[in-house]
Homo-oligomer: 439 residues x 2
Amino acid sequence: MPRITSVEVIDVRFPTSMTQDGSDAMNKDGDHSAAYVVLHTDDPELAGYGFTFTIGRGNDLCVAAAVQRAEPLVGRDVDALCGDLGAIYRELQSDSQLRWLGPDKGVIHLALAAVMNAVWDLAARRAGVPLWRLLTDMSPEQLVAAADLRYLTDVLTPEQAVTLLARQEPGRKQRIEDLEASGYPCYTTSAGWLGYSDAKLRRLCEEAVAAGYKHVKLKVGAKLADDIRRCGIAREVLGPDGHLMIDANQVWDVPEAIEWVKALAEFEPLWIEEPTSPDDILGHAAIRKAVAPIGVATGEHGMNRVLFKQMFQAGAIDYCQLDAARLGSVNEVLAVYLLAAWFDVPVCPHAGGVGLCELVQHLAIFDYLAVSGSLERRVTEYVDHLHEHFVDPCVIRNGAYVLPSAPGYSAEMHRESLESYRFPDGAYWASRAEVDPLT
Amino acid sequence: MPRITSVEVIDVRFPTSMTQDGSDAMNKDGDHSAAYVVLHTDDPELAGYGFTFTIGRGNDLCVAAAVQRAEPLVGRDVDALCGDLGAIYRELQSDSQLRWLGPDKGVIHLALAAVMNAVWDLAARRAGVPLWRLLTDMSPEQLVAAADLRYLTDVLTPEQAVTLLARQEPGRKQRIEDLEASGYPCYTTSAGWLGYSDAKLRRLCEEAVAAGYKHVKLKVGAKLADDIRRCGIAREVLGPDGHLMIDANQVWDVPEAIEWVKALAEFEPLWIEEPTSPDDILGHAAIRKAVAPIGVATGEHGMNRVLFKQMFQAGAIDYCQLDAARLGSVNEVLAVYLLAAWFDVPVCPHAGGVGLCELVQHLAIFDYLAVSGSLERRVTEYVDHLHEHFVDPCVIRNGAYVLPSAPGYSAEMHRESLESYRFPDGAYWASRAEVDPLT
């Protein structure tokens, strides 16, 4: 009966701002970072790993919050904990003093995600299966008991959620075989960062098409003339049948969003992503109405399930891009997948950053096997950065995620990466501080 | 030409959980706390004071975030800073790495509020006037330039906001005289905390009525039978003409809120406050429709202006209870007051906590003088706690806030209070730790 003996939380930052990887109209100089949690147990072979993703400054706030969030876990029996993953989530979430700082949003919620992601990783490792398999093997009743349905029952009751999940039990074996053969379809954002030159953009689009991708995403929203030129290049490389997505990273007010997107309509984008404030449900609904048939997508900054509930109620989005490290871990992600299926909106998870691809592959696979049962209009983001730091990195073949097979949530990072990029005292940052004391 | 020389941020916590002052259905054991900011200048007579309010654990996160938020202020010329309060707000707000942790919500936004509240306090002190006077003396164009209207222009353009403000210039002198004579009306929550006995509740209601209050607020939502009995006591003391408000502090899902409030309808509450998640715009709209003519009020956890915009668009609330230390200081508060006036929704600010009464009196007075021009259906919260720690505490006379006259935003705390209640090493906490090492 292993117990959790200690919690280690590490501030890990990668200097991505130096190459403009990840640059967009809102975020010009992010250093992709993680508040990384390790739940140590008295079994030296067993630990749980999790994280939330940030882009640099303030990662220390998430680390400090995760330390507080994780405190009640120390001393707990691993099997008791993993036997009721809804109970431990609710216990950590309901700390009323920390709740005041949200509720369910911002730093304290990112920290809850980091800690509970580690708990889910631990549960899957303890069961000896990848997370997608752990979830798929749970009964509808067990899944609904783990899901955070608070504040959602006006739209979806626990009973309705059970019915929805039970609907997908037939045919699951066949769907697993399908995914084992073809993988889960993904698209690439690696081509389209705003800081890249036209030549680099064209080359990366060509490489993406050659690698089997049918979708390519570009960052837009800084200068309209640039966007027109860049969308033209991408559409030319993709041909008429490829899918072009555009992403504004929240730079516009609603009227400007409508105007700008209409000016790019000739390139037939599949969706406009994050056209305005991620909090603006009614704004997204207005934009969607105005720019149809171009779809509206958002969710990487979708703070919690209550926001997504309203996005669905208001008919505000065509694609739900939930984030596995911003929502309160699998417990809240489950709730959003259930809502999305209930409203028949496809979920195309946000990925990239540090390790988000590693996490969301499990979620997308689980959705196909147990929640929506569909691949239609569904494609999961993939960004080709920083996977080398993960012990069980995601694998892409022919534009699709290969089913992960190692036990856990694929969240563990190499110890050498942690030592090197721990901020501010890891080897990389210490040596950079010698060169540039202002870093 | 004074300059800002350093920023001091202090973790101040008062042990209110020991007396259940402030207890409600969601927050059973809050220690009312402040992340308190001092902007020191090279003029020993001049400093700026501000804070955000929390209820205990996690106040340290706000302190750490405020240190990062305030960093760009050091070395700045005070007059240049105060000459364009919109520019410095936007500069601090737009730090893209910190923005990722919100945007505009949770710990980083609370910290922005603390820092920018101190900047506004500094500006009023430098001008030698109380904050309400500083705001009232600004032109419509200056106010709109300071207001954070980003993401709001689909509903309210800067030009419309200028017109709205210009409308209230006539009659201002008379309105100032009115307030000087009668003060700004308030109501008291001190009577109705959930942890109080029936006898204490009755006594405090009687004292409130005797002191000239026409409104009394009770906490509800733990047990319906208790709520029925407590509302009966309060209504009996108030008589048929007094106003009873009830406050559930977010404990219900939407269907439960509707059912519970209807069960209390016989006591004719003026409003139900925080019936459900503060993020649920469409949920509040549904509750409002179902429980009319009982009004719906929310806002103390209203995270930002985009949320309030939608609350107004959706017709979700009868009363807007913005919070001066949760919104991003006066810059964002201004935007919400403008929106509220545009949609003709009265603002009844949230207060209590640590020093919120000191802040909101300035805002309510300014609203009457320059934005809405009306006192109708407007009443500002007042809680009789912790004012002794403030250098210029608010003063209540006949159920109304007396106009503050000292320069600033009334945000400065006594140095002795800070030394005593600084967490964890102030005199109070250090001595308590000796008695109870688990504190």
